[in-house]
């Protein structure tokens, strides 16, 4: 019996040692055998892929959030380029990362959010894009062509963008100043005729409290973070729950009168009700989180040329507009503006005015402080 256990232990060891050798999939080597898609720096920051514009070199595996791609666009791409596209879904940036880390998720193109692009770049998971075969890159609006998480768009191209703010029931709450007071101030939030919800996400939840306190949402100062956690804990008295996907539903069914959530999530559901004038999405004046979801190619993708062609296809002005008309999220594609439905482009909560845009901040990876964010937020939730 001892022998048998020993054998098991040895095999386990062998397995984990082989895991050590490759740093848990964190460092995939670029595969030079892929149709001559050699990756070499060309000095300007972008990479030569060896592909031509509109070239395809195999079928495409597209990893995306669910309900985040107009199926007609997929059909059009398949017809135009005579390849097949398989769309697969993940439920969070972290779940996607976990799959890739464990040894590649087999995707060619993925759509991670901003801070996740930064993490993925740090971990060499993404392929440097060949800008020469993405001519539609010129359609990208000026404010998105040099984002802090990926300066110069070396590894990613923006897909859709939005903000994190507060959805309110105007009929119940009345005219209010767009402020984080609605969630955290005992005199404002505590006096609302109903309860509120907060995003069930340590970074977003803490960012809201940090904005309210006047701090940087990317701070790693322990004192400031503890203050933010205390604000969330105090708000427990009028917080009904923490949710990342039901905030709009709760608002529309009357469980809450104000909720912390993503712009597209609120706006998409407001469009669907009979009394849209009763609801509003606010971007608080203290500042708010701006986020982008971005197309990127995995370093070990098997259809590198198809992947580039697909990204270029989505960045086409008319295709980009089709996407936004379907998702109700804002498009980073300046060329698309004229093709997007007017009710979307004229909505200040989807396309906020410049003075509001100046106060929008991207969330960044804070390194070891992420643990602090998680534990303080979890403790504050109770």
């Amino acid at each position: 019996m001892r022998n048998r256990r020993w054998i098991v232990a040895m095999v386990a060891l062998a397995l984990t040692v082989s895991a050590c050798g490759r740093e848990v999939g964190g460092d995939p080597e670029p595969d030079a055998t892929d149709d001559g898609a050699e990756v070499e720096p060309d000095g300007t920051g972008d990479m030569a892929s060896g592909c031509e514009v509109d070239e395809v070199d195999g079928d495409l595996l597209f990893g995306n959030w669910s309900e985040y791609m107009n199926p007609e666009l997929i059909d059009l791409f398949e017809e135009t380029y005579d390849v097949s596209v398989t769309e697969d879904f993940y439920t969070s940036n972290e779940a996607l990362l976990a799959q890739i880390r464990a040894g590649g998720a087999d995707f060619d193109v993925i759509v991670p959010s901003d801070y996740m692009v930064e993490i993925m770049i740090d971990e060499d998971i993404l392929l440097a894009l060949d800008h020469d075969v993405i001519p539609n890159m010129s359609n990208i609006a000026g404010e998105f062509d040099d984002p802090p998480y990926d300066p110069g768009l070396v590894y990613s191209m923006p897909y859709q963008w939005g903000t994190t703010g507060i959805g309110i029931n105007v009929a119940e709450v009345g005219d209010v100043t767009p402020s984080w007071d609605l969630l955290f101030d005992p005199d404002v939030a505590g006096a609302l005729p109903g309860e509120i919800s907060i995003l069930d996400d340590p970074r977003e939840g803490m960012a809201a409290a940090l904005f309210w306190l006047g701090y940087d949402p990317n701070t790693t100062d322990e004192g400031e973070l503890e203050e933010a956690a205390a604000a969330i804990e105090t708000a427990r008295d009028w917080t009904v729950t923490y949710t990342s996907d039901q905030y709009a539903e709760l608002l529309l069914t009357g469980e809450t009168v104000a909720g912390h959530g993503y712009s597209g999530g609120f706006l998409d559901s407001f469009f669907g009700v009979d009394n849209p004038e009763d609801y509003d999405y606010l971007i608080p004046e203290e500042g708010a989180v701006i986020w982008t979801d971005n197309m990127a190619i995995l370093a070990d993708a098997s259809s590198v040329c198809t992947a580039h062609t697909f990204i270029n296809f989505i960045l086409d002005a008319e295709n980009g507009a089709e996407l936004t008309n379907w998702t109700y999220y804002a498009s980073p594609n300046a060329g698309s503006a004229e093709f997007i439905e007017e009710e979307i482009t004229t909505d200040p909560t989807i396309y906020p005015p410049d003075d509001v845009r100046e106060k929008l901040v991207f969330l960044e990876n804070t390194g070891d402080a992420e643990i602090l964010f998680t534990d303080l937020f979890t403790g504050a939730q109770g």
Partner: protein, 307 residues
């Protein structure tokens, strides 16, 4: 596995004693032992390959280090993740998970026992039909079922309305620990019903008749005969309900609100949250496994007998 479990033991079965001095084993007994081992072998081999080996990877991870981007670095082996297990946050969440899981188990047992007894005493044809009726709801989708409870428990939902007419002032159910327990009981009730049914159904009912004959009251007959005979089912059912409730992940997220964070969600946050602290998540999991094994062992060895 150093930890072992004694099955809810079967005094009435006449199996050969577990340990015979090697010299005294007869050839027939040896052959019988080998046969038993071989029957179990496919399952064991499967679990060693697809469970024990993967588990070994997790154990290794629990001693690893988290990089600043949240990557697990398999170097600088340390016990830091285990040191964090005594953090007040971890203790508080564990405590909450414990009492929610305990309440869920008790409520499930109280509801399921008479129910399983009722099914077990029907005619075979009715039995099969009732059993299938129990399972049917659970072939829809777990998430969708849980969301249906959300509608039922919501502030203008039917359950709240009923409570109001019963005179409760402004009852709030959704997003409270009660809602989490209702959801968990609902989710895991078949796990209690099935083993209870299995142990009650095979019971020799002439024994119960005899007991009724012997003892003054039906209650006493139940306590002295039915209950002890159904104990294996009670134990199996309690384990099947308690453990998934303790590690519950989706139900507390959907039906819970403030003050309902459970261990499952906290572990989830380590693996698929922004913390991305796999070593700590691994350490938490290993600790749960270890404690649960100890508890189950203790339960079987002593507590189980006094039930």
């Amino acid at each position: 596995m150093a930890t072992t479990l004694t099955p809810p033991d079967s005094d009435q079965t006449s199996v050969p004693p577990a340990k015979l001095p090697p010299g005294l084993e007869t050839n027939a007994e040896k052959a019988e032992s080998r046969r038993g081992f071989l029957i179990g072998l496919p399952a064991y081999a499967y679990l060693v390959l697809f469970f024990a080996l993967p588990l070994a990877i997790v154990v290794v991870y629990s001693f690893a280090t988290r990089s600043t981007t949240g990557l697990t670095v398999l170097a600088d082996w340390n016990l830091q993740s285990y040191a964090r297990l005594t953090d007040s946050l971890v203790v508080a969440i564990t405590w909450r998970s414990l009492w929610i899981a305990t309440l869920t188990t008790v409520v499930s047992l109280v509801v399921a026992y008479p129910f399983a007894y009722y099914i077990a005493t029907r005619t075979p044809r009715v039995r099969a039909a009732l059993l299938v009726l129990v399972m049917i709801p659970f072939w829809s989708n777990f998430l969708v079922r849980t969301f249906a409870w959300r509608l039922l428990l919501s502030s203008d939902g039917p359950v709240t309305r009923i409570l109001e007419t019963l005179g409760f002032a402004n009852p709030r159910l959704l997003f409270t620990p009660s809602a989490v327990i209702i959801g968990l009981v609902y989710g895991y009730l078949p796990f209690m019903i099935l083993p209870l049914y299995a142990s009650l159904e095979r019971m020799d009912h002439s024994l119960v008749e005899a007991a009724r004959d012997l003892y003054a009251t039906g209650w006493e007959a139940f306590r002295k005969v039915t209950w002890p005979l159904s104990k294996p089912g009670v134990i199996a059912g309690s384990i099947l309900v308690f453990i998934p409730s303790f590690g519950a992940f989706v139900t507390p997220e959907v039906l819970g609100g403030t003050g309902t964070t459970m261990l499952g969600s906290y572990i989830g946050r380590q693996f698929v949250g922004t913390a991305s602290d796999w070593p700590f998540g691994a350490a938490l999991s290993v600790a749960i496994l270890f404690v649960m094994m100890l508890a189950a062992m203790f339960y079987f060895r002593s507590g189980g007998k006094d039930l």
